[in-house]
């Protein structure tokens, strides 16, 4: 089996060209799309950051964490508290505010980085106990920590404004910030995964005991993956908050529901595939928006059907269960959409159609 492979240099330039091409498309979209479509477009990138970061933890390292919403929440609150102006904060905190929080102020980029770092620190702290567990226990414990931080956000009135949440967050998450961060996330995580460290993480996923026996410090590597994943989850939290413009610690906004959404994205795209995670995020964002119609009143053969709230999540979870039962590998499986694979697949396709033509 002799395979012609592209040289690394060609692949590098192809990738650069591809990024420029996408950039151009985004520029076009930014100019000509209406507001609603633009918001969905940006949401795809935000979901993409969430999915790629969760995929690093769950899909590549095989640490089945359900704490992603917790990291997103930490990032969202940290960043929003930094970008909100002191006057706005003073206005919206009905129960008083810690003076040091009121004074904090930073630009969007710094705030996003700070959100990522806060989430990473949180992950580092909970990683010590959580990663000592295995399998299901780890899943529940990480979910538990995410819930604890959400409950904390609901109660720490002078810091988070409690159940009222934060309002009037500036809508900084434009097309360039969101896609810029998506690019940064993918480049960072892909280059980690394509290094010796990435192989070690996959080895841990495949067989923890053998990985240990090969000289890999399993705990430290898992912690590293956990912390890096959490950093980007925090970043996505910041982007999400500055896209939503209001955040609150309800069960349905930044609770287990959000983790579940991100989980759907990566399972749909293929657990363990970075490009799959992005595809999954895009499909989820579009599908979820498209299903919004189900919750609006619509006419069905002349009969007026009232809007039914909850239909979206019902449909999505039904699709999800069906995917899990019949199509566990998802769209990409563990494969990546790389130049090599594209060539391989197109060759396969070509030979297949040739065979069909001959037959």
């Amino acid at each position: 089996m002799v395979e012609k492979k592209l040289s690394n240099k060609t692949k590098f330039w192809l990738t650069i060209a591809f990024i420029i091409f996408i950039g151009f498309l985004l520029w076009l979209a930014d100019r000509y799309f209406d507001d609603y479509k633009l918001r969905v477009l940006r949401l795809i990138a935000i979901y993409g950051v969430m999915a790629v970061s969760l995929n690093l933890i769950n899909g590549i390292t095989g640490v089945f964490s359900l704490g992603h919403a917790g990291f997103i929440l930490v990032g969202a609150y940290t960043a929003s508290l930094l970008t909100l102006s002191p006057e706005q904060k003073a206005m919206s905190y009905l129960f008083g505010i810690q003076p040091w929080i009121e004074k904090l102020h930073a630009d969007f980029f710094t705030a996003t980085i700070a959100g990522g770092i806060a989430a990473a620190i949180f992950a580092f702290l909970i990683g010590w106990p959580v990663l000592r567990l295995s399998g299901d226990y780890l899943a529940i414990a990480s979910l538990g920590f995410a819930e604890v931080v959400r409950i904390w956000a609901n109660n720490a009135l002078s810091i988070t404004n409690g159940p009222l949440g934060l309002k009037a967050i500036p809508e900084y998450s434009n097309t360039w910030w969101t896609y810029g961060w998506l690019l940064a996330t993918v480049v960072f995580i892909a280059s980690l995964v394509n290094s010796s460290y990435g192989r070690a993480l996959k080895a841990i996923r495949e067989n923890r005991i053998a990985a240990e026996a090969m000289g890999i410090n399993v705990f430290k590597h898992q912690l590293m993956s956990f912390v890096i994943g959490a950093f980007f989850a925090g970043v996505s939290g910041s982007l999400y908050a500055h896209w939503l413009t209001t955040i609150d610690p309800r069960l349905t906004t930044m609770g287990p529901m959000l983790t579940f959404y991100v989980l759907i994205m990566i399972v749909l795209g293929g657990l363990g595939s970075i490009t799959g995670a992005i595809i999954g995020a895009a499909i989820f964002a579009i599908l979820f928006e498209w299903l919004r119609d189900l919750e609006q009143p619509f006419s069905f053969f002349g009969i007026q059907v009232p809007g039914i709230p909850g239909m979206r999540i019902l449909t999505v979870s039904a699709i999800f269960i069906i995917v899990m039962i019949f199509w566990q590998r998802g769209i990409m499986g563990r494969e990546e959409l790389t130049w090599d694979n594209l060539i391989k697949w197109s060759r396969k396709l070509a030979s297949l159609s040739r065979k069909r033509g001959e037959g």
């Binding site: 000592r132 920590f145 399972v267 909850g310 999540i313 979870s317 039962i325 566990q328």
Partner: protein, 304 residues
């Protein structure tokens, strides 16, 4: 409020026993399923929620009396549990364990959103079930503490259910089959036992207990809404883990322990009442770190 420390303690003791018993009822379902399939049935708390809705609609639509409504709820939940296993989990018996776990999470959200769609997201009052509300308002005086009659009833019924449960698990044939497959599924199937039926029965039994717990839960905390099963479900799972997952007595001990800690922590440290839901998770994390196999669980040695 004019209570002496003794009565205050007594009051909380009853509340804690009741809450703990309700957690324990749900926890038993988790522990039985986990013991057999090594699967955290995330949807278990939501089955409890569905049971409560069944009772609610039985009472408000067909005007069933409370006892009949409860029986309908229990039967409906049992059927639902059986059905969920058949439809969603059975196809994944030989798949990686994580696939079944993910499906269970999906099932949980499916049931919640199903309830939103069919029953509506607006909380309903379970008290509407009772036309005659005198039984709800009766209060007994025990050692100076005012204990609602309902609390007594809930504790008694819970205890009764556990007696029946132990009888089923330890004295009947199906119970023996359940215990056998929790040890070794392939061997049990060689003995001519229909493993799928037994697993289905386990789901049905666990779901019935959850529904029973749910109905009593709703009598004491009458808010009925689609997400009401999430927190009790999580806490009950934690109770099962704390007690030693796979062990039914463990689930009961874990449930009671959780109920006691929650009630007494809030009673004596009212400042932390907002963190009430966080206690369970903190206990879980502590237990898992100190004794991951739980109070009554056996330590598993990983074979290399």
């Amino acid at each position: 409020m004019g209570y002496s420390p003794g009565t205050f303690f007594l009051q909380n003791l009853f509340n804690a026993t009741m809450l703990g018993g309700l957690y324990a009822l749900i926890a038993v379902g988790y522990t039985m399923v986990y013991g057999i399939l090594r699967l955290i049935n995330f949807a278990h708390g939501d089955i409890m929620m569905m049971g409560v809705y069944f009772a609610f609609y039985a009472a408000t639509i067909i005007y069933a009396p409370p006892l009949l409504a409860a029986i309908i709820a229990i039967a409906g939940a049992a059927g639902l549990g059986f059905l969920i296993d058949r439809v969603a989990y059975k196809p994944l018996r030989n798949a990686p364990r994580i696939s079944a776990l993910i499906t269970a999470i999906g099932m949980s959200f499916f049931l919640e959103s199903f309830a939103v769609v069919v029953f509506g997201a607006i909380p309903k009052s379970f008290l509407d079930v009772f036309k005659d509300k005198t039984i709800l308002n009766k209060v007994l005086l025990v050692g100076g503490a005012r204990i609602p009659l309902l609390t007594f009833l809930v504790i008694l019924i819970t205890a009764g259910i556990f007696v029946v449960l132990f009888w089923i698990v330890y004295k009947t044939k199906i119970g023996m089959a359940m215990r056998a497959i929790s040890m070794d599924i392939p061997t049990t199937s060689l003995m001519g036992i229909n493993v799928d039926m037994v697993i289905g029965f386990t789901f049905a039994l666990g779901s019935a207990l959850a529904a029973a717990s749910g109905v009593m839960w709703a009598m004491r905390f009458p808010n009925v809404y689609p997400y009401m099963g999430f927190m009790p479900g999580m806490k009950a799972f934690i109770a099962a883990v704390v007690g030693g997952i796979g062990s039914i007595p463990g689930a009961i001990i874990g449930g009671l322990l959780l109920g006691f800690i929650e009630i007494f922590a809030v009673a004596y440290f009212p400042n932390f009442s907002g963190y009430r839901d966080a206690f369970a998770f903190i206990i879980l994390i502590i237990i898992l770190l100190i004794k991951p196999s739980g109070i009554l669980g056996k330590k598993a040695i990983e074979k290399v």
